[in-house]
Symmetry: C4
Subunit: 224 residues, 4 copies
């Protein structure tokens, strides 16, 4: 497929996936964004800055290089583009990145506290606890560096950036969106469980067994 | 009715009942499933694995035997099929099974704590506390065994499987879905009540009286 | 207006008002019901038992006398009819009654704890705290007696029946529905406020002043 | 543009913005209102009193002077008009005002507690903590005075009026609505974070840096 038709397809996919964010109650107003790597090119497709979800179309998605510079599009790229770009540049296996301020996950991030692996669903999808990344200011590559430093070599596709929100990665943008939905769901369930007592831990051997099965056999095709 | 037309009808019913799960906020993404026994046959109808709720149709529901082996359908059965099958095999009175990770019920399950009978609605529908089942790995019949060991001889049609989620049973799939909706509703209300104090217990004689009435006279026909 | 055309109009009104219950997230499944007195007759219009909200129509509403006996309709009246009927019989100023198990209000009721008047909105609508009524079994007039004993002479149009749920009253069914919506809203806000500290009390003179103004000048016509 | 066509346009804008309130779950029933200043005139456009959200149209919006006296319209202005009018009269830079009883923000207000700046999103939009205003009775200009006394010279466009609810301001009505949505979102996230521990503070220099960037470079044009 040519780069042009690939980008056209990814514009549609990224625009469509943004609808999952409000639908799964992961965002309010314009906060939150999804991007996809353009395979074989040093490019990514991402939401423009400050555009509301109901106004998102394939045509107003923008294309940038892996420094976050605008390559194609009429609007400024999301102010989080530098973080997305840094991840694609330093984690070649990543094809999609999602950023949200989803309520429960962000509440854990504000305390700087990892989400413990006390549900089989966490073991399945995240393979252990969901880790916390450093506090970082927006504007340079410090958010990107914090994401990569935390997720490289980690089973979890999600990181709770301290006092900020969530970034998730995936082999494509759809997988990163799924991780963002699951992250908020387990952040909420474990929070609620801890409100009136202590969840029972799951043994490490059971976590490993659940993770191995889910990554290999779940769904109609391998999940990763 | 022939087995063929019975299966056709159950495919429609099971597909339609899956819509109740997201509608009542019991599931996110693809988690959660409904099944129905095919009366008079050692068969069940269930959701395929990894299919999203908006893509569920009567045609993509699958049929398995009571070992969980695929009998009819183009997709792999839900990864929870073995648990459903085990229940049908060992509890002949059960005609429907539902599995969810609904938030509040799962939060109780993560603490391994039964939901106490402190609401008339719990007495009505569950006849007492909603019990906790054992921790069990997915992949063999250990989840099924845990459900049956907990619910056999128990008034409650719902069990909180530890660190995992909820299974409910009913005389048909609709009754099991109703139990799943009620279970989450009371899990939430009792959780919230306990957040800032202790709910007042209901006397056992009152629980028995509420349960007896509801099972016999509620609705336009007997509820069970 | 003749009794016949009055009943026709009330069937439409009561059916339409039931839609406010799920819309305002006050009920799940079939729990919860609205009724209206037929002015000038010893009759009331109410929801039938066990019918789901999407299946409610003016035609399947039922009419009973003030003992709860079916007078008109093909289905059994709600199992809460005796409580509604008792209220109409003993509180002639009441034209509408609503019953729900709305989550936060029911959570307060499970602790047997009144909702304190710590919001101007509570002073406006309820004129002080929202009181708790006694524990009562369904099936005779004990729920109705508990409601009347609590609300007669009280400013509040809502009572939290212990371990059960909420009943609200109004000069008509619409006012009772509004009270049910407001009751859940303030039950939730005060609950959340109390989770991490103590709300500041409002002085009794200010409560009286807010209540007097709201009952007299709010809206396009007097609220009562 | 003539005052007449300006008012026509603002009626449409204010009517349309009211739909954001229920959509973002900031209001129940008729509580909550949006107003806009008529630039160059001592007039404002606001919701009428006691009208439900689904019945709001450009035509039933009302116009008042900056004392809250009705100038144009068939219905009584919102009972909160005096507070809106006072703000426009004393803060000439304000073009829009919003009032809600949104759940989490109101819960903080009931405790008389400011929302601490522990999220980058709070630093971005509010520039520091969201402050508490005084308790004030409705009916004279005491609510308006409390808002102005709290927000004048403050970075935050939102004030938590004690035991009451939220008022937000903006350069236009859209910006005030955005502030109301953001205020509830961060009120909820910080509340949840604090339920089971203490959020990590953000250093003042980082707050200042985030605020400066967001006010200057975010979106497709300056946010203020």
């Amino acid at each position: 497929m040519s780069a042009t038709s690939l980008i056209k397809e990814l514009r549609e996919q990224v625009a469509r996936l943004h609808a999952e964010l409000p639908r799964n109650e992961l965002v309010v107003w314009t906060a939150g964004n999804v991007s996809a790597r353009v395979p074989g090119e040093d490019l990514l497709v991402i939401k423009p800055s400050g555009v509301r979800y109901e106004d998102i179309t394939p045509d107003n998605m923008v294309v940038t290089d892996l420094e976050g510079n605008l390559v194609e599009g009429d609007l400024s790229p999301s102010s989080d583009t530098a973080a997305h770009a840094y991840v694609y540049k330093h984690m070649p296996e990543v094809g999609g990145v999602v950023h949200t301020h989803s309520t429960y996950a962000t509440a854990w991030s504000a305390r700087g506290e990892a989400i413990p692996c006390v549900l089989t669903m966490i073991a399945d999808e995240f393979g252990g606890e969901i880790p916390v990344g450093p506090f970082a200011l927006i504007g340079d590559d410090s958010i990107g560096r914090g994401i990569v430093a935390t997720l490289r070599g980690h089973r979890s596709p999600a990181v709770l950036m301290r006092n900020h929100g969530v970034f998730t990665i995936g082999r494509n943008a759809g997988a990163a969106v799924k991780a963002a939905v699951m992250c908020e769901d387990v952040a909420r369930t474990v929070h609620i469980s801890r409100q009136i007592g202590e969840p029972v831990p799951i043994a490490q051997a059971d976590i490993d067994s659940l993770y191995a099965r889910y990554q290999n056999v779940y769904g109609q095709e391998p999940a990763k």
